[in-house]
């Protein structure tokens, strides 16, 4: 029992790193994802095409491969072409790759949310003389955000688990803590059980919270429809 507790406590030390990277990725990913979503629905075929390619590539490759390319592949390529480049800390490419990865997924969620807002809303806003961007900001986004927000929460929960692959590029997050402890003690089972417990401790309450808000929001909507 003592060993399991120890394994758990070791993994627990990785929580700030895992949460920090995940939060950063969701926040930056949301901003970048919004740009991608606006590109996807824009009149410009070129912008829409570029965004689509980006999303397809990111969603079509595993995060761990993206992380390896960013952390190790990119510096090697630059050095081979005569540019002296080295990540000052591997944390930087790790955070960026998670943010880019998230942006692709979130852009689809944001696009779905925007398109779920009734078309007449845009027409009404435009008919009052609002420019397209003004209508987007004042009328469409405030309604879309209701649909989008729960998905942000879900993406955050998913990222907490997915950032485990960052241990491949030397980020000392939850899994890496366990792996290192295992290497030193050979207590393999307690080490990884400890890791699993810590992930559960984070993800289960979080997804319950997201689920609660999701339910509450949909109840608000049915309430509004009834009242109407």
């Amino acid at each position: 029992m003592q060993l399991y507790i120890q394994g758990f406590l070791v993994a627990l030390k990785g929580v700030p790193m895992t949460l920090g990277v995940s939060l950063f990725a969701v926040a930056v990913g949301a901003a970048f994802g919004l740009c991608l979503a606006l590109m996807r629905i824009s009149q410009s075929k070129v912008l829409a095409f570029l965004a689509k390619i980006y999303v397809d590539i990111v969603r079509g490759t595993p995060l761990v491969v993206q992380a390896l390319i960013f952390a190790y592949g990119l510096p090697q390529l630059l050095q081979a072409s005569g540019i002296m480049f080295k990540w000052s800390s591997l944390l930087l490419p790790a955070m960026l790759v998670c943010a880019f990865n998230s942006s692709a997924y979130l852009s689809e969620v944001i696009r779905g949310g925007i398109q779920a807002v009734e078309h007449g809303q845009m027409e009404a806003a435009r008919s009052l003389g609002m420019s397209k961007s003004k209508a987007m900001r004042l009328v469409i986004m405030p309604q879309a955000i209701k649909i989008i927000l729960p998905a942000f929460g879900n993406e955050f929960v998913a990222l907490i688990k997915e950032t485990a692959v960052l241990s491949y590029v030397g980020i000392v997050e939850i899994l890496r803590r366990g792996t290192l402890w295992n290497a030193a003690t050979f207590e393999t089972f307690p080490a990884y059980i400890g890791v699993a417990l810590v992930y559960m401790l984070l993800t289960i309450p979080l997804s319950k919270t997201v689920g609660y808000f999701e339910k509450k929001m949909s109840e608000d909507d049915t309430h509004e429809i009834k009242a109407a």
Partner: protein, 240 residues
């Protein structure tokens, strides 16, 4: 004065407007009637470029309406939709003042005073601070009219404003519209309310299959229609 010259619109291969010509003088009330699919709503939506015409032109006081001046044109051309399209995340008053504040850059205080006067006009002062979801259909449409009026338009477009309403709520919306007519507002109304069209219109046009089939004074078109298709349509509508 609003002029429509040879207006054409097609959705893919489907020709919806096949060359519409019409002149609406200031202060005139024009009603457009016709079966569904005849192009009447499309024609109205081409006037403020919610639909982009495939041919022809629309001018207001001899200025061509196009993509470059459309936002300005729309501030002078209020529109009321069949499905209200109120902004559900804003209160009634916020709906009314959103465009004056954000497009015309009028201060919130000033716009709110003007907004409350408009809400009084449509009889909904006590609903100023509630969300549209708690309103009845008729109340929603009256808010939508107030919202359009808040931009102080020179022309009002109504796209079947009573078609989505329960029968007992049609009257309250028509009353508000009649009050506007009395004030001398220039109005273009797509409607199935033949009685209303007869009472308030200066001119009625009957559309079918993308053309204006018949036009004239209400008593000419509605009481003594000349064309076969108009007679046919009116006999069906007036039976109900």
């Amino acid at each position: 004065m609003l002029e429509i010259r040879n207006l054409k619109k097609a959705f893919g291969k489907l020709e919806v407007l096949k060359g519409i010509n019409q002149t609406i003088e200031d202060g005139e009330v024009l009603s457009i009637i016709g079966p569904s699919g005849s192009g009447k709503s499309t024609m109205l939506r081409c006037l403020n470029l919610l639909e982009t015409p495939c041919g022809g032109e629309v001018t207001i006081d001899d200025v061509l309406v196009d993509e470059n001046n459309i936002n300005e044109v729309r501030t002078k051309m209020g529109m009321v939709f069949q499905n209200f399209n109120l902004f559900p995340h804003m209160t009634v008053l916020e709906n009314v003042i959103s465009a004056p504040v954000h497009v015309k850059k009028i201060s919130k205080e000033e716009a709110s005073i003007a907004g409350m006067i408009l809400l009084e006009k449509v009889g909904l002062v006590e609903k100023a601070n509630v969300k549209p979801a708690s309103l009845s259909g008729g109340q929603k449409q009256r808010v939508a009219i107030a919202r359009a009026l808040a931009m102080e338009p020179e022309i009002m477009l109504f796209d079947e404003p009573t078609s989505a309403l329960d029968p007992e709520m049609v009257g309250e919306v028509l009353e508000v519209m009649k009050a506007l007519v009395k004030e001398g507002m220039t109005m273009i109304v797509v409607t199935h309310e033949i009685g209303f069209a007869k009472e308030v219109s200066d001119k009625v046009i009957f559309m079918d299959d993308g053309y204006i089939v018949e036009e004239g004074k209400p008593y000419e078109v509605l009481d003594n229609p000349k064309k076969e298709r108009t007679i046919n349509f009116l006999s069906k509508v007036l039976v109900c």
